[in-house]
Symmetry: C2
Subunit: 343 residues, 2 copies
Amino acid sequence: MPASSKPAVKRPRASGRITLQEVAEAAGVSPITVSRALRGERAVAAELVERVRQAAEQLGYVPDPAARALASSRSSHVGVLIPLLSNALFVDLLDAIQRALLPAGYQTLIGVTHYDPAEEEALLRSYLLHRPAGLIVTGFDRTPVARKLIEASGVPCVHVMETVAEAGVYSVGFSQAEAGEAMTAQLIEQGRRHIAFAAAQLDPRTLQRAEGYRRAMQRAGRAPREWLNPQRSSLALGGQLFEQILHEAPEIDAIFFNNDDLAQGALLAALRLGVHVPAEIAVAGFNDLTGSDQMLPPLSTVRTPRSAIGREAARMLMSLMRGEAVPEPRLDLGFEIVRRGSS
Amino acid sequence: MPASSKPAVKRPRASGRITLQEVAEAAGVSPITVSRALRGERAVAAELVERVRQAAEQLGYVPDPAARALASSRSSHVGVLIPLLSNALFVDLLDAIQRALLPAGYQTLIGVTHYDPAEEEALLRSYLLHRPAGLIVTGFDRTPVARKLIEASGVPCVHVMETVAEAGVYSVGFSQAEAGEAMTAQLIEQGRRHIAFAAAQLDPRTLQRAEGYRRAMQRAGRAPREWLNPQRSSLALGGQLFEQILHEAPEIDAIFFNNDDLAQGALLAALRLGVHVPAEIAVAGFNDLTGSDQMLPPLSTVRTPRSAIGREAARMLMSLMRGEAVPEPRLDLGFEIVRRGSS
DNA sequence: CTGAAAGCGCTTACAG
DNA sequence: CTGAAAGCGCTTACAG
C-alpha cells in the first residue's frame, strides 16, 4: 500500500465529510483519477478503477452534489413540470418518473403549474438556475419565453402526454385527438345517435380530444354538441354538467366526458335523479381513474398509459443526459378503449 | 460611478452567468459586502445595501445555488417525505407546503416512502447528502437509524400529521386518536348500537384512530368490533370490507371507515346490494376527500386540516431555518366532524 | 492512460 | 461596519 507522496492535507475539514482527496490518498492516486474512475469515465486502467472503488467503499465516500454541480455546471436534479397534483393522472405519471430516476441517482424537482403559463415560466426560471441535468414538461403549450428558456439552456428536455414530430424535440405520449375520436366512434357504433362532449379545464389536451370527437361526429354525419366549461374538473361539476345537458338537450343519448372525475360525478347524479344509465343515456369518461370500475354502473372510459409514459420519458431523458443518441425521439404509447357498464 | 480598483478579473467566464464579483465591481464594493447585503445580513450600511441591490437588479444577478451550497454547506432544498402520492390527503399537504416554501426561495424535494421504513431511510440518506436546509417528515414511525440520521445531521425538521410533546421535536398536526374517538362517540350518540371499525393500510395513524374508536366504545360499555386489512386503501377494498362485515356480523348497524375512499366504496357497494344507508346501516369516513359530498347519500366524515398543516409546518420550518426560536413547537390544528346523509 | 494547476461562485472565520 | 484571504469539494481543459 503506497503511502501518499502529497504534502499533508490540512485536516480536519469542517464538514466531517469524506472527500475525493481522502479517497485518492487511500488509493494512492490523484484526485482526478478518483473522479474519473468513480464516474465510470473510460481512459482509466481497470486495475486503478478497482483500487479506487475499494478505497471509496471502505471509507464510505459519497460525492458532494453541490461541489459536483459547481465544478461541472450541471446538477443531479431533474425538473418535472406538471399542471396539477390533484388529478390522479399526473400522480401516476410522477410516480413512474421518480421510480425510474431515483435509482439512477437523479433527484426530482416537482413543479406544479396549475395550468398557468406564467407560473410555468417562473418555475422554469427558478429550476434553470439550479442547472438541472434534465427537464420533463407536460405538453407543448407554453409561452414563447418559456420555450426560449428551455432551448437556450441546452438542458435535455422530454415532453410528455402529447407527441410531436419535430427535429430536436423529444416526446412521449399518445394522440389525444385519436383517443377522443375512437371513443366517440365506439359510441356511434353502439347505436348512440345524439352524442354530447362535455369538458372542464379546457387545457390543450382537452381541446384535442374535442377535436377528435368532432372528427368522428362529422364522419358519421352528425352535428357535434359540446358543453365546455373552463372551471376545474371535479365530481361536483360533472354532476352539474349532466343535469344541464339533460335539461338543455333532452335528445342527447350519450355523453362523452373529457375526464373520469366528471363522468363519475355524472353517474352519481344520474343515480340521484333516477336517470337510468346506460338505458336512457350512455356515459363515457377518459383516463380510467381510480374508482371508475367501482361506479354504478361501472364507467366506460379510455385507459391512458401514464405510467408507461412516465417510465419511458425518464428513460429517454437519461439517454439524453448521458449524451447518447435517441433513435426514437417521438414515442406514441397509444391508448385503450375500456367498455364497461355505462355505455 | 466609481470604477473598480480591483485587478482585472479574467473574463470571460465559461458559464456566461452574472457573478457576485461583477455585482461588486458595479457597486464599487467587495464581494463579501455584496453577499452580505443581498442576504439581508445586518451589519451593512443601509446606503451600501441600496447600492448593491440596484447593481444586482440592473445586471440581473441571481445567486448560484450550487456555489452557495458548497460554501455554506447548506442548500436551498427542503426534503419532504410522505407515504403516498395516491392519497389525496398528502397531495393537499404537499400543495400547501410548496405554496409556502416556493415564494421564500426554497425548492421542495418530494420523497415517497410507500409506508416502507427502509425506503424512507434510503431517501433520507440521499437527501441528507444534498445538505438540505430543512426537512418535513410524516409522523414519528421510523427506524432508529433514520431518527439518528435526522438528529445527527442537525438539519431542522418538522413532523406533520401527528403531534408530540418532546423537547426539541417540532410537530404540526392533530390528534388522530381523538378524532377517531369523536366520530365514534357521535355515532353512539346518534343511537347506533353495534359500531364496527374498518381500516386498511394499518399505518400508525390508522392504529391511533382505532385506539380512539376503542376508547369511545369502551366508555359506552360496548365491545369494539374491528376489521383491519393490511392491503392498500381503495374504493374496491371498501366495497369488499362492507360486504364482508354485512356477512360476518349482520348485527352491525354502523361502520366507521378509516379513510374516505373505503367509505365511498362501501356506499357504492350498498347501492349495488340494495342496502339502505343510513336506515339499515350508517357509514362514516375519515379525511373528507374529494367526492365524499357527492356520494349517495353524502358521506359523513372527519374533516382534517391538511392544508393548514402543510402551511403551518412550512412556516415553522422557515423559522427554524432562519435560526429563530419557535415558541410553539407543537401545533395541534384540530379536526371537524362533518355529518352528512350517511349517518 | 495519468496528473498539476486552475477554477466553478459563493461564504466563513479573522482582522481591523 | 467593511475587506483580504482561504476554502467549500469537485471537474475542466491542458499537458505529457
